[in-house]
Amino acid sequence: MNLTNLIRIALKALSNNKMRGFLTMLGIIIGVASVITMLAIGEGSKGSIQSSISEMGSNLIMIQPGGDDERRGPGGVSRSAASMETLKMADYESLLNESKYLAAVTPSVNSSGQLIYGANNTSSTVYGVSPDYLTINSRAVDDGMMFSEQEISSAAKVCIIGTTVAEKLFTNGEDPVGKVVRFNKIPFQIIGVLKSKGYNSMGMDQDDLVLAPFTTIQKRVLAITHLQGMNASAIDESYTQQAIAEITEILRRNHKLKASDSDDFEIMSMDEILSTMDSVMSMLTLLLGSVAGISLIVGGIGIMNIMYVSVTERTKEIGLRMSIGAKGRDILAQFLIEAIMISITGGIIGVIIGAILAYLAGMLVGFSATIQPWTVGLAFSVCTFTGVFFGWYPAKKAAQLDPIEAIRYE
């Protein structure tokens, strides 16, 4: 008996029991749809976190004071004041002059507070940086200009503001460049406005900031000599690891650390953050997927159950088919094809519903849920497998019926 006839027979049998077929299929539909949706949501949120991290500059390297030891104090709060002051100006200069793998490096000191211009005020954060900040964070000055090395050495009271700050302080559309704002009672002349970058995908306003020479913030605002941190970028993303090794080496030498001493600073690269996030998200996706996968197995058991009932119910039909010439393998094939058809049709509907759900969920949460081709492929192969696996036993039972008994079965 050829396959076309078998498929015809299976289709006929299914169409004779549409409601039952649909209900059986429902288990598979729900299973596949939830697998597809969960994986798409997982992939989508992974993608959105990745893009928000790389918005911050994908080859960004952050250097912070305080080693692992201090960070791991009881309750995680025992960072001593001294451990926070391990990064000095000398470290910055060493990195600036000696490193081969760094394209740019900037110190980072910051202070939050009120900015006042005339009757307007806004609270924001002033970052004390070097001009390299723009390169590292991929920013640009839209209007006016960045401060120079000379303004850094003189600790000039100049600043660059973000567009959000500009909008809040200059409400009647004046040009902010050249105006003087007060921060902590210190007057700063605005010499430029940053090009707007909007909100990042974590919902942080990237234009709500003020940049000033780090020397100005150190001396005039915070009255400190150490650095709160440094940011750098490798000459290329692929050199991040070398750059980190180099920074470690320079800083350890500067800090006169013995081989047995642990680092009194911490270096994080976006790469590392990214891969940590990635593995966390993959874990989560896997978890969601396997929970959804369980419903697929339940759906498969539903198929098995129904096929079993079907074989018993159609014993007489099986007897007839056998008496007019159906071989055992024809009967086996017929029931197996029925099971596979239920599961594959369910699979197709499930993929479609899953895609719609993923799209809706994406719209609701605000990121694009990505359906990857392999998840669809996976869903289909799992469906076919489910059909064969759970259809086999009932089909085998049908094929092994004795035609003499089957034809007289009531």
Binding site: M1, N5, L320, I324, K327, G328, I407
Partner: protein, 246 residues
């Protein structure tokens, strides 16, 4: 005349626990092409076992069975299935049509298991068989839209569709009222007149009057095998029956 069936000392034993039941004991007879034979017997006479054996559903424990010249005794399951498909047309007491399926589709069924037939050839043969049994106007009626007599005609058409060497009917009139029974008998007599070989297994002695030969079984043995030289016409009896009200 060509031999369709030759049984040589057929026996069939069933082992039930410690006991052995001899359902058939040394049954031998030959049926030629064009015969209309009844096999009669009370229940327990071995009638059903003989039917299963003749229908290649079961194999005998001893003896030889030749169907259309082919020895069946040593055949495997699959070969017997093929043999049934090509040489035998079954007609059952309870019709055994597929539910919610049209007459044509039901009749096509045996051809579905024979890859020699294309879809169009199947349909053509099925239609021809249905016209032959007088259901040319009900080709696409579903089995649940038909009367018992019509369903049995569909079943007979299904038995004819593969041009079998013999038609094996098992109490084919058992579920029908008197009038419809005669209608079916008229059909069988017509098929017989056309030269087909028919074996009719029944416990109803009346049927014997309309057949060319009667074989009587008792306790697994053939107790009489007589030719009927005075075949009654089912059509005449049918004409004499009072018409149904509906």
């Amino acid at each position: 005349m060509k031999e369709i069936i030759r049984l040589e000392n057929i026996s069939r034993d069933f082992v039930m626990g410690e006991e052995t039941v001899h359902a058939l004991r040394n049954v031998s007879f030959t049926i030629h092409e064009g015969e209309f034979v009844t096999i009669m017997g009370t229940s327990g006479s071995g009638k059903s076992t003989l039917l299963n054996t003749l229908g290649c559903l079961d194999t005998p424990t001893g003896g030889e069975y030749y169907l259309d010249g082919v020895s069946v005794r040593t055949m495997g399951k699959n070969d017997r299935a093929t043999l049934r498909n090509q040489k035998i047309g079954f007609v059952f007491q309870s019709y055994n049509l597929l539910a919610k399926t049209t007459a044509v589709e039901n009749v096509e069924l045996p051809l579905m298991y024979n890859s020699a037939y294309s879809a169009s050839a199947r349909k053509q043969k099925a239609t021809k068989a249905l016209i032959e049994v007088g259901l040319g106007d009900r080709l696409n009626h579903k089995s649940n839209q038909m009367s018992g007599g019509q369903m049995q005609r569909v079943a007979i058409a299904r038995a004819l569709v593969n041009d079998p060497a013999m038609i094996l009917a098992d109490e084919a009139t058992g579920n029908l009222d008197t009038r419809t029974s005669y209608e079916i008998l008229v059909l069988f007599q017509r098929l017989h007149a056309e030269g087909r070989t028919i074996i009719f297994v029944t416990h109803n002695p009346e049927i014997a009057n309309y057949c060319s030969r009667n074989i009587l079984l008792r306790d697994g043995r053939v107790v009489s095998d007589t030719m009927n030289n005075n075949i009654k016409s089912a059509a005449e009896v049918l004409a004499a029956l009072p018409k149904n009200d509906d």
